[in-house]
């Protein structure tokens, strides 16, 4: 569906994207992560035909990006939900969607059919006659997604779609994406700062300084870059500490709670059996995408 080969973007004195290559299969949920300034938005803008690439090739839905004809076909194939609100505050939701639909040269019948589709999917009935500017953040996001889907694209680009939204709206957005993928086999290209969202993707790419520093499924990335953590509270602290030192297990201690990195829950189980005589309580915490991100970028992650 999307094939990117050695894509580069050079600004006057700064190379924002440094020769990245990846591919996205049809129906896939593809998460594109990175620190601020890593090149995520630049890459997305190039894929959405908003920016010209300096070099490299991109094909989307079989069309070559960068040619007039290719870009026209690509624009018909994609829907974009931007991070910021791009609809008109002084138009109603329906007026906004109608105006945007016109730019896709949809016939009246097609528009009516597509509008009925997005109206149902995004639950627009209660907001379609209201001015976009008077809507809450969550309602605006529903309208934004409806606008992106009005021409029934094959690929949906989502640029940090849930940033600043309340948990209920975020859940609604994700349920909608899930339903779209299940019912229409839509390909979804997502950029996000929320690692828990990336964890449900089929493929994750992490970008740093314009380069791909990690790529794989969330599971493989966690296997490679994240550790499970075993926390222990001992009934006999002296024995517990001695036991850790004897086995040369690296640990961290805070207020009587000992933290140990383990490669798997099975390793944790073996340690727990040995420590059982002087153990008061324990907890096994699975490695997360946060750990992966921190590990490969050496950056702080945004807490959810």
């Amino acid at each position: 569906m999307i094939k990117v080969n050695e894509l580069r973007k050079q600004y006057a004195t700064h190379e924002a994207v440094k020769g990245i290559s990846f591919s996205v299969a049809q129906g896939e949920l593809f998460a594109f992560l990175g620190t601020n300034g890593a090149g995520k938005t630049t890459t997305m803008n190039m894929l959405c035909t908003l920016l010209d690439a300096t070099s490299g090739t991109v094909t989307i839905n079989g069309h070559l990006l960068g040619t007039q004809q290719g870009n026209d076909h690509i624009r018909r194939s994609i829907g974009v939900v931007f991070q910021q609100n791009v609809l008109d505050a002084r138009l109603t939701v329906e007026e906004n969607i109608r105006a945007r639909a016109a730019t896709y040269h949809l016939s009246k019948d097609t528009y009516m059919k597509n509008y009925a589709f997005v109206r149902e999917y995004l639950q627009l009935a209660d907001i379609e006659k209201r001015y976009y500017g008077t809507l809450s953040g969550g309602q605006k996001r529903r309208a934004d997604i409806a606008r992106a889907l009005i021409h029934r694209p094959h690929i949906l680009f989502l640029d940090e779609p849930t940033t600043g939204l309340d948990p209920k709206t975020r859940q609604f957005v994700w349920q909608t994406i899930k339903r779209l993928r299940e019912e229409t086999n839509m390909t979804v290209f997502l950029t996000t700062h929320y690692m828990e969202e990336a964890a449900v993707a089929d493929t994750v790419i992490i970008l740093k300084d314009g380069r791909i520093v990690a790529e794989g499924t969330p599971h493989t990335l966690k296997m490679m870059h994240a550790y499970d953590v075993l926390t222990l509270v001992f009934t006999d602290v002296m024995h517990g500490e001695q036991w850790l030192r004897d086995r040369q297990i690296a640990y961290d201690e805070k207020q009587g709670v000992y933290t140990v990195a383990v490669t798997s829950p099975l390793e944790a189980l073996q340690l727990l059996k040995q420590a059982e005589p002087f153990l008061a309580s324990f907890e096994v915490v699975k490695g997360t995408m946060d750990d992966v991100f921190l590990h490969v970028t050496n950056e702080e992650v945004v807490s959810v």
Binding site: C48, T49, L50, D72, R75, R76, I78, V80, F82, Q84, V86, L87, D88, R90, L91, E95, R98, A99, R100, A102, T103, Y104, H105, R147
Partner: protein, 291 residues
């Protein structure tokens, strides 16, 4: 309705619903009317009283002078106000939404120009309608069909020139704040550069020369000639031709550049040349500035 006209329709709706934007595009007109009521009318009438008797025809002539300045100024400020949507869309990232659609870049840009042109024309034609009634009621002098047709033609030309000028400038205005500042400056400058706030003959000769090279001032000039023709003939009936010419030069009804009186044809050609030149330059800039 085609995609292009749907987009133009969208610009119109967004513009019309922004009451403040509509108000500010008319602000300079309100200032002109206020200045006229406060002193511009009396100043002219006092000056005319020194050479001839002030009659209803004189008042009609002076009112027509005001209306000509007002309409030419309106052609510029309303198209500029309408172009505000372009700056607003770019500043508020709305334009990137259009750019991800299959509509051509040129069609998107052109939709803003057509929108501005339509707003300018509609506003000036509406203003002309009000002015016709104003002139008729205040001085009993109703414009003839021929004069109205001539003025409508000149307004079309004025709006085209204003659209071309504004299109070129707004490409460089990156924010709403910059646009607002520019719009305020334009409103004020136009009043002087078109000889509306103060009579043309009062300013120093080098400024007069600059004004004569300023293309928009020629639309004011032509509108004055069209609107004031009958009333001037009535006011200066029997007076020496030199007195009428002196008035016309003093109040910017005719220009004398390097000792030569500029003809109507000269002004029309000058306006058309600028419109075409600025239009091409603006279109090229639009095309090369993708975002």
């Amino acid at each position: 309705m085609t995609a292009f006209w749907q987009l133009v329709f969208r610009h119109q709706k967004v513009f019309r619903r922004d009451k403040m934007q509509v108000f500010f595009s008319l602000l300079s007109i309100i200032i002109v009317i206020a200045l006229y009521i406060v002193f511009l009318q009396n100043m002219q009438l006092d000056a005319i009283a020194q050479v001839t008797t002030v009659t209803d025809a004189t008042k009609a002539m002076v009112n027509e002078w005001l209306v000509a300045g007002l309409l030419s100024m309106m052609a510029v400020t309303t198209t500029l106000g309408a172009f505000g949507i372009f700056v607003q869309d770019r500043d508020g990232h709305v334009s990137i939404d259009f750019l991800t659609s299959p509509m051509s870049r040129i069609a998107i840009q052109l939709s803003y120009v057509v929108h501005a042109w339509m707003i300018g024309l509609l506003s000036t034609v509406l203003a002309l309608s009000v002015c016709i009634v104003f002139l008729g009621v205040t001085s009993g002098s109703w414009l003839t069909i021929g004069t109205i047709a001539e003025v409508l033609g000149l307004l079309t030309l004025s709006v085209l020139l204003a659209s071309a000028c504004n299109m070129l400038v707004i490409v460089f205005l990156q924010s709403q704040q910059a646009f607002s500042t520019f719009a305020t400056l334009v409103g004020t400058l136009l009043g002087f550069l078109c000889g509306i706030y103060i009579p043309f003959g009062v300013v120093p000769s080098f400024i007069q020369t600059a004004i004569m090279y300023f293309p928009i001032s020629h639309t004011t000039l032509l509108l004055r000639q069209a609107l004031m023709e009958d009333s001037m003939a009535s006011v200066f009936m029997g007076a020496p031709a030199s007195e009428q010419l002196s008035y016309m030069l003093q109040y910017g009804v005719v220009y004398e550049l390097h000792g030569t009186l500029l003809s109507t044809t000269w002004s029309v050609v000058y306006i058309v040349a600028w419109t075409v030149g600025l239009g091409i330059a603006g279109a090229l800039l639009f095309m090369y500035k993708k975002r």
